[in-house]
């Protein structure tokens, strides 16, 4: 049977643009049909902004790659019409176990907070993630939305101008020229776009190699995340076992720096390693093997005039913590509403500079976290290994040492503290988690949930407060969502949005981040907050 990642999902087809007498200009071109590029394109097309996605390949990602998707990206995907199916297919897990040498030193439960529509994490192969996005693109096309994916279209040169970008695109039938008002580069860590524009990409390269293997087996390992420090089957290194859908298990084995990659990838070398880990008599089949080295680095700026970078093209982290694809989806979420407003002439071009500020803040947070995990997993000096081992030894017996164990700090959304789009917090003693800049936490609402009601537009959320049902400021429409703690049976809304305050009014951005909040409605203040949140103040 063919795997989904062996089937061309968007094979090359000749576009009328290739026969046009002059280069055709498109409002938005996205380079790269990976998770981030597709998410951005769907978000634009859902709102009728025409978008063309170019990819030099024609298939979804080869092998599982990104496998762990966090709550926040799932909430974003729900807004884009494909969060539910990912959750249905994905493997949900809460328990993690940490082993040191031959002993289990402790086990943790993520104990996800109640009252959220989406789980804390699911494991899902990147190829399924991309397949569902491609399917969503096809549904949008069937509904007449302006979106296309051009497979076998490789961008070979980029010319940047004040008001557009010019692209030379190679295809199996020869090259053609395209123009775009805006270009979103989502072409991955090795981004050819970045290279063609001669842009920097600085940071730290980690001297290490990891063997990743997808193994199909009927094993009775529980649905948990197992992480080993210095196990007998991979001495001096680490190992990770994680379950994916369809009986596929993901195994990551640290190999160290001085290895022969081609040799290590050969099944005759991989299989004995896996047998040592899983047991001699466990039957398994190798689906995919790869070796990777990683970097923690980012571009100095993500926006370069009309070219905007997102995802791994803009920043790269170590895989510990699942902060790659998850942060890329959040880049897109941050960018697209701003780009739409700028394209509609409702916000100044400068609004896009806030994408830089906010997502660089996010990237730095991710780089910091994943660098720290890497330093714990792979100690860089004798003393850092001694301290690391001391933490693990103590963790077995003493609870205090467990928070120091770092096998990856799992992706959580970033709060845009200090963003120029925020209005100073004016809800006295309001919960810190919903301060301006924070992503709105979900809460149960009658038969449904809060977040789907905040999707894709500016919303004035009132809790036991009066305010107009609708207002418009500087071309921005704001709709009110009126709630009351009287209907808040679980008290989640009160805990997450009021704290000790008797009432609250929140201005919420289209990406579900808080722009402003105070106890009651004040027309001047909220009008100013709308201008501020759209770069007009």
């Amino acid at each position: 049977m063919n795997k989904i990642f062996e089937t061309p999902l968007y094979p090359y087809e000749r576009s009328p643009d290739q026969d046009a007498p002059a280069p055709v200009r498109h409002p938005v071109v996205v380079i790269g049909a990976g998770p981030v590029g597709l998410v951005a394109a769907i978000d634009l097309a859902q709102d009728d902004v025409p978008v063309v996605v170019l990819d030099d390949n024609d298939k979804v990602s080869f092998g599982s790659r990104a496998i762990c998707f966090a709550k926040r990206p799932l909430e974003i995907l729900d807004r884009l019409g494909c969060g539910q199916e990912m959750v249905e297919k994905g493997v949900k897990w809460d328990v993690g176990k940490v082993f040191f040498d031959t002993r289990k030193v402790y086990e943790f439960n993520l104990l996800p907070e109640e009252g959220h529509q989406f789980p804390a994490f699911i494991n899902l192969q990147q190829y399924y993630f991309e397949e569902y996005l491609v399917r969503r693109v096809r549904d949008l096309q069937d509904a007449g939305k302006p979106i296309e994916i051009r497979g076998g279209n490789k961008v070979e040169a980029i010319g940047t101008h004040d008001d557009h970008v010019k692209l030379e695109v190679a295809t199996p039938e020869g090259a053609y020229t395209l123009e775009a008002d805006w270009l979103i580069a989502c072409d991955g860590a090795g981004s050819p776009t970045r290279r063609m524009l001669g842009l920097d990409f600085v940071g730290r390269v980690f001297e290490d190699n990891f063997l990743i293997a997808d193994v199909v087996m009927e094993a009775d390992f529980p649905t948990e995340r197992w992480f080993w420090f210095d196990p007998p089957f991979n001495r001096g290194q680490s190992a990770l076992l994680h379950k994916q859908p369809d009986g596929v298990w993901r195994i990551d084995l640290q190999l160290g720096w001085d290895i022969d990659k081609e040799e290590e990838k050969k099944p005759e070398n991989v299989i004995p390693r896996l047998k040592a880990m899983l047991g001699e008599d466990v039957e398994f089949e190798l689906e995919w093997v790869s070796i990777y080295t990683f970097q923690c680095r980012r571009m100095e700026k993500f926006r370069h005039g009309r070219v905007i970078f997102a995802g791994d093209a803009a920043h790269q982290v170590s895989p510990f913590g699942a902060r790659g694809a998850n942060s890329g989806v959040q880049d897109s979420d941050n960018l697209v509403w701003k780009l739409k407003l700028v394209m509609q002439g409702k916000a100044p071009d400068a609004l896009l500079d806030s994408y830089d500020v906010e997502r660089i803040h996010g990237a730095d947070e991710n780089i910091l976290n994943s660098t720290r995990s890497t330093d714990f997993i792979t100690p860089k000096s004798e003393m850092s290994r001694i301290l690391r081992d001391a933490v693990l030894d103590l963790a077995e017996e003493h609870e205090f040492a467990r928070p120091l164990v770092n096998s990856g700090r799992l992706s959580v959304p970033c709060t845009y503290d200090g963003s120029p789009l925020n209005t100073a917090d004016a809800l006295e003693d309001g919960p810190a988690r919903t301060r301006p800049g924070a992503p709105c936490p979900d809460a149960p609402l009658g038969d449904g949930f809060l977040l789907p009601k905040l999707a894709g537009k500016f919303t004035l959320l009132t809790i036991d407060a009066e305010a107009p049902d609708h207002f418009e400021e500087a071309g921005i429409e704001v709709e009110r969502l009126a709630l009351s703690v009287k209907d808040d049976k679980t008290l989640a809304l009160k805990q997450r949005y009021l704290g000790v305050a008797p009432s609250a009014v929140y201005l919420i951005r289209p990406d579900q981040h808080v722009a402003a909040r105070r106890e009651s409605w004040n027309e001047n203040i909220f009008r100013a907050a709308v201008r501020r949140a759209t770069g007009q103040e």
Binding site: M383, D389, A390, L394, F400
Partner: protein, 64 residues
């Protein structure tokens, strides 16, 4: 935020010092390094206060 105590604060300092040496007795260099590391972590957790810990690191490094 607690200020790091850098004046004498241990009752019977000689007894404490003797306990510290005794704990290392008969250990290899490797075992002693591991013991020291565990001890630092246990003590750091007891102190808890990040400001005091940062001052302690600075004070210790000043003699490096």
């Amino acid at each position: 935020m607690a200020e790091l105590i850098l004046t004498p604060n241990i009752d019977t300092p000689d007894d404490f010092y003797a306990d510290l040496l005794a704990a290392h007795e008969g250990l290899s260099k490797e075992e002693s390094d591991a013991l020291n590391a565990r001890l630092i972590l246990v003590l750091a957790n007891h102190i808890g206060d990040r400001e005091a810990l940062a001052q302690a690191i600075t004070a210790a490094r000043a003699k490096g």
